[in-house]
Structure formats: structure tokens, C-alpha cells
């Protein structure tokens, strides 16, 4: 009667999601720090950083879609 698999799924999915966001954002922060070094290729690092932040933004937008029922029905169909 206690649905242990649901607990496991929730735990795993939330760990993976959180780790993905934090990894992407951390690389973004690191690349920004690298971009400020004197002897580095600034524009490449900056581009990489903004790409990382972009990935985070997409994940957060997906979160908003999940929160708002109208959006999740329209986009995910469920």
C-alpha cells in the first residue's frame, strides 16, 4: 500500500534535475571567471558561459511549464 517506487522515482528525478541545473550554472560561473583572466580567449569563454546559463534557463522554463496547468496541457499534452 505504501508506494516505495514513487519515493524512489521522486528522489532520483529530483537529484538528476538539480544536479543538471547546478552543473550547467556552475560551468557558466566558472567560464565567466575564466573570461576575466588576463591571458585568456575572452569571447569564447563568455559565449560558453552564456550557453550554460541558457541551458539553465531552458530547464527553469520547463519547470514553469510544469507548474502552470494550462501550459503543461498545451505543450506536454497531459
Amino acid at each position: 500500500m505504501i508506494d516505495w517506487s514513487a519515493f524512489l522515482i521522486v528522489a532520483l528525478v529530483s537529484w538528476i534535475a538539480a544536479l543538471c541545473i547546478v552543473t550547467a550554472y556552475s560551468f557558466g560561473v566558472r567560464l565567466l571567471a575564466v573570461a576575466r583572466d588576463e591571458d585568456s580567449n575572452t569571447s569564447v569563454s563568455k559565449f560558453g558561459a552564456y550557453l550554460c546559463f541558457g541551458v539553465c534557463g531552458v530547464i527553469v522554463l520547463f519547470g514553469v511549464v510544469l507548474i502552470v496547468p494550462q501550459l503543461s496541457r498545451a505543450i506536454l499534452g497531459a
Binding site: 519515493f7 534535475a17 538539480a18 541545473i21 550554472y25 556552475s26 571567471a33 507548474i67 496547468p69
Partner: protein
């Protein structure tokens, strides 16, 4: 049967519960960004309030049962939920919520609501009214799992964030960038809170209206119910439970931007996954677990287990305490209109007492500000030049002090 007065009382109390729910749970979303200085306290509560308001309007999937199945609400075999019972249960929830706010404890508002209703149902219809299996699987086990899942997540995320941003060549890691991320992650938590918690009050009011024959069963909540609930929770959030924000933001562990970001992301992802893939976890418990986990994950951060223990104790007591208050209130309401009046007067009296006690030891947004200055100073790592200048100044000062001490000595002899 004329139910008008009791219905009005229930609606008023439900809206007040929504208000306490708001100010109790501001901390879940906004405590860590305030603590790291990602956002000023006033702006943080305003942002959370707006997102709560928006969230409340966005989702109107009102719970079909008040208690989520804990109380057997089946129309043929179960307890008939009367407005008096809801009134008693709400009173238990509100009194407990305000009491834990006075102590600065983050406790689950939903558990308080369940507890109050469970107590009222037991007094009203005996112990058989409760489905204990649902109570175990929907309240007790998630209460254990929520902080664990979120805590482990925050621990791993904090470790990861620090190891990724660590610079091998000794350059400054510039982790301040995590502050901007915190604004987004905490906004997500606030929005999720608005869509979830305002629904509970809408459900309670709608079911009361249905139970008293003022609304046809099976119809959605009226617009005025949605609007008043949204406004009540937003106002509560804007008022800001500064006591709880202080506990969550600096009482458990000192939060740094990268760590706060990891905690917020863990909170948001745990809440979103749980509400979409299985069972609802308490926002409060998830957020507290995240803060503790992130404190364990950062080197040099210390977790104050005394405070954590106090919070855990608060969780343990939330359901039974709200149940006892709800039960007592239900017992009084059974005596009729006089009993309802006594409950209302005593309840309001207790709330005024708690409020009076809180004035003696006032905690406002300015109290959370000092922590920002501290963390701001800690984050602002001095450059080599500044450090050298500071060391020089200190050495000079100490030399001067020593010189003065030496000069003074002859006078003593």
C-alpha cells in the same frame, strides 16, 4: 437549517489561514536569497507575493477532498463534513501556525490544516473517521523523506558547485554570479507555492459552500473565492514571516551564494518532481532539508543541529498539536452556537496573545539585513593588494599599540 453565520465564520477563518500560510512560507522561497544578499528583503517578499498571487490564479485544480483522503469523506460510509467541523479544524491550524511563527519555526502549514481537521473529525465522529493508511503514506512517510531527498540533493549540488568553480591556479573563483541564479530558483519555488497552497483554502471554502447548499456540488470555485484566496496568501507573503526567514536563512547554517543556489535548485526540483510524479512533499520540509544539506556540503560551513532539532520537534508536534486544538474546538462547537462563539472568541484571544508576545521581541526585515552585510563582506574576497594594505595597517596599529604600552610602563613603576 440556517448556516449563514457559520459559513461566514469559516470563510473568514479560511482566508486568515491562507494569510498565515503565506507569511509562514515566505521563508521557503526567500530565506536563502535574502541571507546571501541576492535580493533585498523588501524586494524578496514583494517578488514572492506577486508570484504567489499569479500562481493562485494560474491553477484552479481545487482539491476534491479537503483532507486528501485522510478523513473518510465518502458520502455514504464516511463522515459528513459539517461547516462546524471545518471551522474547528481551521482554528487548530491557524493557532498552531501562529504559535510556530512566534517561535520562528518553519513548520508545514498543510500538516497543520490536516492535523486540525483530523482532530475535529475524531471528536466529531470517533477514531474510525480517519484512514490511518493514508495518514501514514501521505503525511508521515513524506515528512521523513522530504528533508532526506532534498538534503542529499542539496549536499551533492553544493559539493558539485564548489568543485566546478574551484580554480586550480589560485585565481578568484568569482562565485558571486550564483546570486543572480538564486533569484530565478527562488522565484520558481514561490510560484510553485502559490499554485499549491492557495488551492487548499479555495478547496476548503468551496466545500463549505457546497456542504451548506450555497453552491452546486461539482462546480469549480467562484471567481471571488479564487480572488480573495490569492490576495490573502499574497498579503501574507508580503507581510513576511521575518522570524522564520531568520531561522531558515541564518539559524541553520550560514549560507553563501553558491550554496544558496544549490539549496534553492534542490528545493524547486524536489517540489516539482514530487507533485508531478507521485506525492506532494511539504514545501517547508523540503526547503529546510535543502538548507541543512547545503550546509553539510560546503567546507567550513557549520550546521547548527540544535536549531535543526528544534525544527524537527516542531514537525513532530504539528499534526498532533493542531489535532488537539482542532479536537477541543470541535468539542466546544458541538454545544451549538454558544460553543462556536466561545471557540471564535478564545481563538482570537490566543492569536492576539501571540501577537502581543511577538511585539516584545520584534523581528523585522532589518534584522535579516545585518546578515546580508556579513555575508556580503565574506563574499567580497579582498584582492592581494587590499589584503597587503590591510595587513600593513594592522601591523602598524599593533606596533603603535606596543609602543604606547612601552611608553606608559615607566609611569606605572
Amino acid at each position: 437549517m440556517d448556516l449563514t453565520l457559520i459559513v461566514v465564520l469559516v470563510i473568514a477563518l479560511a482566508l486568515f489561514f491562507d494569510f498565515t500560510n503565506g507569511f509562514h512560507d515566505t521563508a521557503n522561497a526567500m530565506a536563502t536569497p535574502i541571507a546571501t544578499g541576492a535580493i533585498t528583503p523588501k524586494k524578496a517578499v514583494a517578488l514572492a507575493a506577486i508570484l504567489n498571487l499569479v500562481g493562485a490564479f494560474l491553477s484552479t485544480e481545487v482539491a476534491k477532498t479537503i483532507s486528501g483522503g485522510i478523513i473518510n469523506e465518502d458520502p455514504t460510509t464516511g463522515v459528513q463534513i459539517m461547516p462546524e467541523m471545518i471551522f474547528a479544524g481551521l482554528m487548530g491550524a491557524v493557532v498552531w501556525n501562529v504559535f510556530t511563527w512566534l517561535l520562528g519555526l518553519p513548520s508545514s502549514s498543510s500538516h497543520a490544516l490536516f492535523g486540525g481537521l483530523v482532530g475535529a473529525a475524531i471528536v466529531g465522529a470517533g477514531f474510525g473517521a480517519i484512514d490511518y493508511g493514508v495518514l501514514l503514506s501521505k503525511v508521515l512517510l513524506p515528512a521523513l523523506c522530504a528533508p532526506l531527498i532534498a538534503g542529499i540533493s542539496a549536499y551533492l549540488c553544493t559539493k558539485l558547485a564548489y568543485s566546478i568553480t574551484k580554480r586550480q591556479n589560485g585565481a578568484s573563483p568569482k562565485r558571486g554570479g550564483f546570486r543572480y541564479g538564486q533569484i530565478f530558483s527562488s522565484s520558481l519555488v514561490a510560484l510553485a507555492h502559490g499554485t499549491n497552497d492557495a488551492q487548499k483554502t479555495m478547496g476548503v471554502i468551496t466545500l463549505t459552500l457546497v456542504a451548506s447548499g450555497l453552491q452546486t456540488a461539482g462546480t469549480g470555485p467562484h471567481l471571488w473565492v479564487v480572488a480573495t484566496c490569492a490576495i490573502a496568501i499574497a498579503l501574507g507573503t508580503y507581510t513576511g514571516g521575518w522570524r522564520i526567514i531568520r531561522t531558515m536563512g541564518s539559524g541553520l547554517t550560514d549560507v553563501k551564494p553558491a550554496q544558496g543556489f544549490a539549496a534553492e535548485v534542490s528545493t524547486a526540483s524536489a517540489i516539482l518532481t514530487s507533485s508531478h510524479l507521485g506525492f506532494a512533499l511539504s514545501t517547508t520540509q523540503v526547503a529546510s532539508g535543502s538548507v541543512i544539506g547545503s550546509g553539510l556540503g560546503r567546507k567550513g560551513a557549520e550546521v547548527r543541529w540544535g536549531t535543526a532539532g528544534r525544527i524537527a520537534l516542531g514537525w513532530l508536534f504539528t499534526l498532533p498539536a493542531a489535532a488537539i486544538i482542532g479536537g477541543l474546538a470541535a468539542w466546544l462547537t458541538h454545544t451549538g452556537a454558544v460553543g462556536v462563539g466561545i471557540v471564535a472568541v478564545v481563538g482570537v484571544g490566543m492569536l492576539l496573545l501571540f501577537w502581543y508576545l511577538s511585539r516584545k521581541n520584534h523581528v523585522g526585515h532589518e534584522d535579516t539585513l545585518s546578515d546580508i552585510d556579513n555575508s556580503g563582506a565574506a563574499v567580497n574576497i579582498l584582492s592581494k593588494k587590499e589584503r597587503r594594505a590591510r595587513a600593513k595597517a594592522e601591523a602598524k596599529a599593533s606596533r603603535k599599540a606596543a609602543q604606547e604600552a612601552m611608553d606608559k610602563e615607566p609611569d606605572n613603576s
